[in-house]
Amino acid sequence: MTWSSIIIAGIITYFTRMTMVALVDRDLLGERIKAVLAYVPSAVFPAIIFPGIFINDYGTFIQMNDPKIFGAIVAILVGYFSRNVIATILSGLFSYWIIIFLL
């Protein structure tokens, strides 16, 4: 039962990846839709970022003094000025760890 549901979930996931690339003719999309699609990264990734910071493992909001908020602010500042992905990730992680383990 678990195996068959994994396979079905895999097929559905593959279809989410494949449908727009292989089955839908790009010309069906008008110019306006294409212009809006340029915003996809900015319109999708915050839905991963915000809950990853502000909501804990139990599905409730974190306190405003949670170390994750501090880590995220450090990562945003470091990322903005350094333009470096590794620096962004590591500065966020280390500033978060410093607060949980030292303070």
Binding site: I6, R17, Y39, I48, I89
Partner: protein, 228 residues
């Protein structure tokens, strides 16, 4: 003009920095599966069959929490429906490929690979072998996802939960969008998406992950109209 090999390498290098997030998350993902009591083969098979980190964790958590398989499968579909948006963006650059090649390369469309290859595509629209960049980025992510979830399965309960490795996930996506904070229209779209995701977090089947992008894209359409 770049050769195929150059594009493959560029794709690989573009996602390499994200391994600082992908590897810890993969380890956590494998370890959670074992801790929830699923068999190692089953937990690992998901990395090949589904190949989508967040959805793999949610699937196992739902099943172990007693949810029906229908709910678990639906949740995976809803969480991964964001790939439809990635595909719509990428189709412009992949349209010259044969149908079979489109079918094959689709398997490798994942968040960070899409993000980095899309950035490259926007600047190099006229390259003939663009898909090799996606092959490099997606292929690299695939290999490291397999290795890291396997490591997590082997390490199992040795992976300490309290060090918060999952926090690497939002950080990797901050690194992807942070330069767009320079553009007001993008900031508006990002804040719309982020606030919507918190507002709709409790919506069924984790649907906040597709509801908030749709709301944000509507706002993007409004912004475009105002800019004219």
């Amino acid at each position: 003009m770049f050769t195929k090999k150059q594009l493959l390498t560029k794709g690989l290098l573009s996602v390499a920095p994200h391994m600082f997030s992908v590897i810890p998350f993969g380890i956590v993902c494998g370890a959670i599966g074992i801790e929830l009591g699923f068999s190692p083969i089953l937990v690992y098979a998901m990395s090949i069959i589904i190949f989508g980190g967040a959805s793999q964790i949610v699937f196992l958590q739902l099943l172990s929490g007693g949810a029906s398989t229908l709910i678990a499968v639906t949740s995976v579909g809803v969480i991964n429906s964001r790939h439809l948006l990635y595909g719509a963006v990428l189709s412009e650059y992949l349209e010259k490929l044969s149908f079979v090649k489109k079918l094959l390369i689709s398997y490798l469309v994942v968040d960070q690979g899409f993000a980095e290859s899309n950035k490259f595509f926007q600047k190099n629209k006229n390259e003939p072998y663009l898909h090799y960049h996606l092959l490099g980025s997606g292929g690299t992510l695939w290999i490291f996802w397999q290795l890291s979830t396997l490591s997590g399965i082997v390490l199992g309960s040795f992976v300490p939960e309290e060090i918060g490795l999952k926090f690497a996930v939002p950080l990797t996506f901050i690194a992807i969008v942070v330069q767009d904070l320079k553009k007001l229209d993008h900031v508006i779209v990002m804040i719309t998406c982020g606030l919507s995701s918190l507002l709709f977090f409790d919506a069924p089947f984790k649907s906040y992950i597709i509801i908030s992008p749709i709301i944000a894209l509507f706002v993007a359409a409004l912004v475009l109209r105002l800019k004219k």
